[in-house]
Symmetry: C2
Subunit: 307 residues, 2 copies
């Protein structure tokens, strides 16, 4: 089977490229740490190097998603607004002129959502979401997707369309507060691998559910409970995580109530925390498989008539 197109997931710190057949099967893959902020040489040379690692791809067109289409990327791919489907994205691909690649190269746009006049944005996640929509049971009806990371996205899909979403800065706040604030000073690593302390995490989740207190006040307890030795120093980081994720869950579930299981997309360690927090609140979860970004790019390529 021959390569129909090359799928490229090009983020801030990594680049992944896949030779994809017309039926969506991955024929070959390559990956590097040459993200848009860590590439060697210009964008075209970096992409050419990745294509060389996919010799079967011939002159198949290239479809890229992620931060490569941001203001800091190769060519800016303007945002499209919600509601947004594969068809909409396929009609709004941004052409990337190249000197030597001798094949079409295009970038998937990011998506913007306006709520009460205030914009929210995603770039890269829209393509993962279109991959997710290919999965059993997610094509029709309404589904809530939670995509933990530095900036966690909560998304509502309806009949295969991205309808609305909100970003929560939970991951970035966790990193800043645990590494650079007064809260980090009493924290002690939990074993060599600094594993999660689930009792501490649960205490944070439960406190948010039990009390009406505000995040900026409750956070201070990470210090005082450490100071008064009410919680072991090895549990404080997980307690902070529980408080932050607890507040996020509280707000997000109010904003987009989940009737079906919440679909979790992200790395194992992080989604395990969200799963635990959601289940403690009585909300079931479902995990997404890896490589949904390739399925998403394939569905956009199909909508664009490439395969």
């Amino acid at each position: 089977m021959s390569c129909a197109f090359v799928a490229v997931d090009w983020g801030t710190t990594s680049l992944r490229a896949y030779a994809v057949a017309a039926d969506g099967r991955v024929l070959a893959r390559t990956a590097s740490a040459h993200g848009i902020q860590s590439r060697q040489g210009d964008f075209e040379a970096t992409l050419a190097q990745a294509l060389e690692a996919l010799p079967g791809s011939g002159t198949a067109p290239v479809l890229m998603a992620g931060m490569i289409g941001s203001q800091q990327g190769w060519v800016e791919a303007p945002y499209v607004e919600t509601p947004c489907s594969a068809d909409v994205l396929a009609r709004r691909l941004t052409d990337v002129p190249t000197v030597s690649l001798a094949r079409p190269v295009k970038i998937v746009p990011g998506v913007a959502h306006l709520a009460r006049g205030v914009p929210d944005v995603m770039r890269g996640e829209e393509t993962q979401l279109l991959g997710l929509i290919q999965l059993d049971g997610l094509q029709a009806g309404s589904h809530v997707v939670c995509m933990p990371g530095t900036h966690c996205k909560w998304v509502r899909l309806h009949d295969g369309v991205i309808v609305e979403f909100s970003t929560y800065m939970t991951g970035e706040l966790f990193k800043l507060l645990s590494e650079q604030s007064i809260l980090g000073r009493l924290m002690v690593r939990n074993g060599d691998a600094d594993v999660d302390d689930w009792a501490g995490f649960d205490a944070g989740i439960d406190r948010v559910q039990r009390e009406s207190g505000h995040l900026m006040h409750q956070l201070f307890a990470v210090r005082t409970e450490g100071l008064f030795k009410r919680r072991p120093a090895t549990a404080l980081k997980s307690y902070l995580s529980g408080l932050l994720i607890g507040h996020e869950l509280q707000a997000a579930l109010q904003d987009v109530p989940a009737s079906a299981p919440v679909v979790l997309v992200g790395d194992d360690r992080l989604t395990a925390r969200y799963q635990r927090g959601l289940e403690r609140r009585g909300v079931a979860v479902r995990h997404a498989p890896q490589d949904i970004v390739v399925a998403g790019l394939a569905s956009i390529a199909r909508a664009a008539g490439w395969c």
Copy 2:
């Protein structure tokens, strides 16, 4: 008039000492940048140097407040619990043994407040509050005090007693988010002095009042509104400040409803923001004078029978 005692306000980054007469009048003062984290030599030598700058103080006893009584200070002065008055604090002073000072040296304890089993703490603010209580109109009845800073304290006083308080990490979050998060990247200084952009600040305050959105979600708009050029880059820092202070006001006013004007204690630039935010919410304010910490130490010294 002779010196009855020496009042010392000894914090993390500065030391201020005052020779105080029996009627509370300040006879002489000295100040240095020799806070507990920036002192030169040991604590006793640093204090001896300050006392030399107050030659009229003779062998009058020394009463100290602030971080000098913390775990990182000279001698730890254990917390006393709310409700707390000058009498309570005067009975729980911590003695500091010295080699060469030839006069009593004591430290005012910090105060702990337990709300739903979770401790909150202050150290230094309790002494300011006792100074505040000396002011006209604040001796009797119920009063809400807001003390902005790295960790803002909201306090309820009743008939001259510290009844309850909550800490909000607003100042520390503002510093971390504006200087070290993705939100800071689009911010541009507002003139050489980086003055407050009041339109941006008001937009943050108003958004919190208008919407039910969660802080961790609303924060992301500092980025997107900059990205979409809905707000000038010079207004983004003040917008962030408005969102953070807006959330703090929302939570704190719910927690400790203010019937009389809220009393603001802190530096001019910071209290101006809180005043503006409170007045936009229809809450009147009253500003505290400088040097209330000396009045607080004097009231504890009186309660201890020193003058």
